[in-house]
């Protein structure tokens, strides 16, 4: 498992593809978590199942937790769940890279 994170539009998908040709990619994991919540699922249970099912996956996601706490409860729940889910993905990943302006910095 590898994880590439960064703010919106920082080029994390491009860098992940460049560095891992032929890998199994999952882009936008923060949006996957939104979909899980929208259909009434448990984001952490989903994430654990995902980690078991795709141990070699390359995952990309946006960092979404650096704004003001949202007024709408479902937005609050999503940001929190996305952050927690990405902590689990990062814990299981052999490499975690943060992308700023298209440049990757290896965090793990």
């Amino acid at each position: 498992m590898k994880l590439y994170i960064g703010g919106a539009y920082q080029g994390q998908e491009e860098l992940a593809q460049q560095e891992n040709p032929g890998a199994e990619f999952f882009f936008g994991f923060h949006e996957t978590i939104r979909e899980v919540l929208a259909r009434g699922g448990d984001p952490l249970a989903y994430t654990e199942a995902f980690l078991r099912g795709h141990p070699e996956a390359v995952v990309t996601a946006n960092e979404v937790g650096c704004g003001l706490v949202p007024v709408r409860p479902e937005e609050r729940a999503w940001r929190e769940a996305a952050g927690r889910a990405l902590c689990r993905v990062a814990a299981k990943s052999g490499a975690v890279t943060r992308v700023v302006c298209g440049i990757g910095t290896r965090l793990k």
């Binding site: 703010g7 919106a8 539009y9 920082q10 650096c66 999503w78 700023v100 298209g102 440049i103």
Partner: protein, 169 residues
Amino acid sequence: MTILVTGGSGSGKSAFAEGLVPRLEAHGRIYLATMEATDGESRRRVMRHRAQREGLGMRTLERARDMDGAEIPEGSLVLLEDLPNWLAGEMFGGGNPQGMPQALCRLAGRCRHLIVVTGDVFADGERYDGETARYLQALAALNRRAAALADAVCEVVCGIPVPLKGKLP
């Protein structure tokens, strides 16, 4: 050399970028100010930055659009502050936002040293649409282009530079 400095608002990125100026040799130092000061708050911001720059021996050039028209003598150091305001000037002030990546490359080619300040506004988790989404995408693309062009890139966090690429002077 070309240097890109990024960071959140109030991160100290401007002061850090200004601190780089005396370390680079040049014939003439130009502060290329891209913000259009239209209200009291932005005018106060301009005043604060001017006071911060005193003693650096920089000539201020105010320009919100069309950097090709900026008069830059050969051998100059240019500190461009900043990309978010320049993009706003081109996008919302009747300029040419599509031409900005090329204009930035040409600007770098005309300076002895170019220091570019930009902003990190991409991790708030908000979903924007319309004009705001287009602005954010354009700014991110411009940041990536500037980073690719730059010899050195750093992110400033609480006034501390975190190197992302190359070696700072």
